[in-house]
Amino acid sequence: MMKLLKLKPSVGLLSIPYSLIFIFFFFIPLVLTFIISFWDYNEYSIIPDFIFENYSYIFKDCFNFEKDMCVTFKTYLSTFMFCFITWFFTLIIGFFVAYFLAFYVNSVTWQIVLFLICTIPFWTSNVIRMISWIPLLGRNGLVNDFLLYTGLTDIPQEWLLYSGFSIVLAFVHLYTLFMIVPIFNSMMRIDKSIIEAAYDNGANGLQILWNVIIPLCKPGIVIGSIFVITVVMGDFITIGIMGGQQIPSIGKIIYVEMSYLQLPAAAANAVILLALTLLIIWIMTKMIDIRKEL
């Protein structure tokens, strides 16, 4: 940054507005959250202090392996699981949708039209989108009516709603677009002549996909993955509504603590969540250098 400032003053100037926004609305609040996570609190106020109680409380009983797994580990385990499964399905679906859009649809107009169709899930509010699953997946919903009518089952299937299944379904439905966009973007940058060259050298479709397209799409895949993983890690609304509030999430714990004004405890949880999410992103960026690829 300093170097840039010396070399090209205009670049430094141009970056000032964004830097200010970043500092005031992201960096300072984050530092405050970190500081407050060491404060004490009572029913109605937070008290400046330097204690580790908020953190030790989170990991209380977590290293006593004779007992059941502690809430914190259980919650993170379930969050990681949702993250992984959602990531997996959004990646597979997102990749092939992007592939279709980039390589099978030749007209730009159609690409735009189909792309807009992908955004349909975002036309309604988050809550409505999720509530609308109930008439479909519920005990008396369409899917169960169909299963009963065709005689595939004798009793309504309850695992369809308020379960891990429905949560993953909602996540995939909501966030596949976050995968499609960056992967599609990467694919559009691939020089078609490279694919032709591979073809000319005798590679078959699968080999081209594996050895040419996927490596060149890596930046898009990583960016899409970062989007999906960070969103799922912090989510509590989707997990809450689709899981019938019976499945834990870190976001929900933080939310409950905040509504009971246990702000330092919530801050400590937030710091841990942030650290873990950053760790995952760090590992992913180790696997691929986004800056270089872009």
Partner: protein
Amino acid sequence: MNKNLTRRKMLKTSTAALGAVAGAGLLKGFPAIHAADAPVIRYLGTAVNMGDAVQKRLFDDTGIKVKFIVKTTDEVVKTIFTQPNSFDIVDSEYFSMPKLVPSGNLLGMDTKRIKEWDNVTSAFTKGEVAGKKIGDQGTAPKKVMYLKGAKSKEFASEPTQYVTLIPTVYNADTLGIRPDLIKRPISSWAELLNPEFKGKASILNIPSIGIMDAAMVVEAMGEYKYPDKGNMTKQEIDLTMKIFTEAKKAGQFRAFWSDFNESVNLMASGEVVIQSMWSPAITAVRTKGIPCVYQPLKEGYRAWAAGFGLPATTKGRQADICYEFINWYLSGWVGAYLNRQGYYSAVIPTAKKYMEAYEWDYWMMGKPATADIMSPEGKKLASKGEVRDGGSYEARMGGVACWNATMDENKYMVRKWNEMIAS
């Protein structure tokens, strides 16, 4: 969604009102002195029981305007702590008082300035209904009603001139059921954990209220008798949560809910046939034409109560306007409006004046309706011949077993509740 809708309507109305005021100013060619003078009260609360009709009537009667700041129960409390000057009057629940009063952010309310103070129902002031003591476990209003002085941060055990909140509305809550799907009488809180309803039960995921429903169930099952459900020891919290954790693991609950509309959806769709529910949610299910009963139970009701408070900094003209507003609120029209929604007004005699005799008989006396009963919005709630669930005011409020509560072990309770959700 309902809330948003009313808020949006409210925004519209207030904008329109503003426009009208500005327009009037222009026409007369005067600077908007009168418009600036028209008192506006910033009203912080959940506003679930406030509609456009209230605002209109208020303006016609007093010339006061209300600007609603609509938030959830927990957010209202948070706002009093963190932005105590962002509102002029707050509509809060009594169970928040043990948390709020020590902060000193609320003003002691002067009962001498309340015209109808002597008519405030004895359920608030003495914990009695029709001369009979009612359950006072939990944060019963009488425990947190009186202050030692106008600026005091301590509760007084004996009646004083200063109170924490001026009571407005209250109700007795119980379980809601779908009689068409259960097909047999329900008479005990214990039924919530009856394996017969496995996968078809629900409880609300708001720890401070959910724990009270849970305690009612545990006691009804005969597992334990609490000395005070509303102020459990750590061991009692552990015990309660253990029973519910086991039930949850066995698949008793279809879902938990934390938003009013979720409870309506669960019940209306038939996903759930028995659950903790609030009175307006029952109404919402019924107006869809789906049978739903607010089932009276032999162990009694869990009650709640709300009232108006003022920020500690209120004084002078601002205080005059707020007291005028409160006096208007208790003068009967709103009381009747609340009673017609199935709540109870804090000042009953004034509300009676604004209700038709058949309405009074249905809502307050527990008599069969002699004509169709309509909601304040004009929707049909009950047909001729029907009787209100739970019956009369005396039967319902007299049957209160406990109140929504803030416990001494609140922090521990929230933690344990989260553990149950995670199990």
